[in-house]
């Protein structure tokens, strides 16, 4: 509410997904992580051929089918029912992760807790000692994909920065992130740190800097 009064509108979850989808070119093999990244597939126009990989053994994943065409044997990494595009293939887990770890995936889009200006990503735990440990495929994807983008809210619910000089949470992988799509901006991770490529209308650079825990650079 405050933000609206200040004259700019943060993107919604689907808005962030749609923004990232604009930048995925035809011909790429992409893996979309759980959460907002999964929504990106809905915003890639059907005529743009992008091959979606799902870690549980799908290459060429399609959208959720209508109820009468659902197949209980065909689920995505979030265990939602999905479809297979013409040309798609099923593989087992070691082959699925060979695609990832062998550097064959052009782009992986992950959710994040924190991203550092050196490209470090933290997205699986809030402390080294917590019981819940949900690594899943994130470490493999972060290291193995040719490029890693992160889609996340610019700050936490409490207003703490998620874009930082260094991550305070346990790392998923070091130096892996090349671009971040937040509800406020698109940022490139470069050798000099975060470079702002795009901001939501009405937000100025100083506003964005105030919500960021690392120095921002103009494009």
């Amino acid at each position: 509410m405050n933000e609206t009064r200040q004259g700019f509108g943060p993107l919604t979850r689907t808005g962030m997904a749609a923004r990232a989808a604009q930048d995925v070119p035809e011909g790429w093999y992409v893996n979309l992580g759980i959460g907002i990244p999964t929504l990106i597939a809905d915003y890639i126009p059907p005529e743009r051929e992008v091959v979606v990989h799902s870690e549980n053994g799908i290459l060429g994943m399609g959208p959720a089918p209508p109820p009468h065409q659902q197949n209980p044997w065909l689920v995505n990494a979030s265990t939602q029912r999905v479809s297979l595009r013409p040309g798609g293939a099923f593989v087992h887990h070691a082959d699925s992760f060979a695609m990832v770890r062998g550097g064959h995936i052009d782009l992986c889009v992950l959710g994040g807790f924190q991203v550092a200006e050196n490209g470090d990503l933290a997205n699986w735990a809030h402390s080294p000692t917590e019981t819940g440990r949900q690594i899943g495929g994130a470490m493999d994807l972060a290291v193995g994909a040719k490029r890693v983008w992160v889609v996340m809210e610019h700050t936490t619910k409490d207003g703490a920065a998620r874009l930082l000089r260094r991550c305070s949470y346990p790392l998923t992988a070091a130096g892996c992130v090349s671009r971040v799509y937040t509800n406020l901006a698109v940022l490139e991770v470069t050798p000099k740190g975060f470079v702002v490529l795009d901001m939501v209308p009405g937000l100025d650079f100083a506003d964005l800097q105030a919500r960021t825990g690392a120095e921002l650079h103009r494009a």
């Binding site: 799902s54 870690e55 549980n56 053994g57 799908i58 197949n71 209980p72 044997w73 065909l74 689920v75 990494a77 979030s78 265990t79 029912r81 297979l84 099923f90 593989v91 087992h92 887990h93 070691a94 699925s96 992760f97 990832v100 770890r101 735990a125 080294p128 917590e130 019981t131 819940g132 440990r133 949900q134 690594i135 899943g136 495929g137 994130a138 470490m139 493999d140 290291v143 193995g144 346990p170 790392l171 998923t172 992988a173 070091a174």
Partner: protein, 232 residues
């Protein structure tokens, strides 16, 4: 005549000892050998190490815990080797209380350690996990300019497998995303036990379509259990 079909669950589960490392495939209940897991619960082996992608679903009020959670809740699991432990789950409670060890590792490393065991590769280096908590205590070497950590093969004593079709030699096919960990766990265990939806005569499976050749399989139980039931 080679005939790997067994006629009963008791026959399928015979000889699984206490202390065994049991491999359980499945991703979101698809390709999960749930009938064999019920058989294992009945059979009684304890002090088990489970190799399983996810150590159990989140608690959902009004829904009974799944078979893995029940096995843990009976105190029969010493350790899980997995890529997911949810805080709000039976496994999470047992880990928090110190009654269950959890080795939580990247999913691709889990798959590759299993594959390596089946393929006779005792260990390998991978960049996955380098510079993170999971690298602690592991040998690090630089390859192609990147730090890599030494990961060891992960063999099993027993694998419980869910197939779509099987013949008496133990040749198997799977459906859609039901492959997941099944083919590699079948390779990696000393005793590979299969539940199959369909039993077919030898020669009926097209040779080009066989996912798991019978060399990896010891016992097959024909159980047409129906489609996987998703938690939501």
């Amino acid at each position: 005549m080679i005939d790997k079909f067994v006629r009963s669950m008791a026959e399928a589960m015979a000889g699984i000892p206490d202390g065994a490392t049991v491999m359980m495939p499945g991703f979101g209940e698809v390709g999960a050998p749930n009938a064999l897991l019920e058989g294992l619960i009945e059979q009684g082996a304890t002090d088990l190490t489970l190799v399983i992608n996810s150590a159990g679903r989140m608690r959902v009020p009004g829904k009974p815990p799944n078979a893995v959670a029940r096995l843990i809740d009976q105190g029969r699991v010493r350790k899980v080797i997995t890529s997911f432990v949810r805080a709000n789950s039976v496994a999470g409670d047992w880990v928090r209380d110190g009654r269950l060890q959890a080795e939580v590792i990247p999913q691709g490393t889990l798959a590759e350690r299993i594959r390596a065991a089946g393929a006779g590769i005792p260990a390998f280096f991978t960049p996955t996990g380098a510079g993170t908590l999971i690298a602690e205590g592991k040998e690090v070497r630089e390859y192609q300019g990147r730090p890599c950590i030494l990961e060891e093969a992960l063999p099993g004593d027993v694998a419980l497998i869910e197939a779509w079709m099987a013949d008496r030699w133990g040749n198997l096919t799977y459906r859609e995303t039901g492959q997941n960990f099944n083919p590699i766990m079948a390779m990696a265990a000393k005793l590979t036990i299969v539940q199959t939806h369909n039993a077919v005569d030898l020669g009926m499976l097209p040779a080009n379509a066989i996912h798991t050749p019978g060399i990896y399989v010891n016992r097959v139980l024909h159980l047409p259990v129906g489609d996987p039931v998703l938690p939501r």
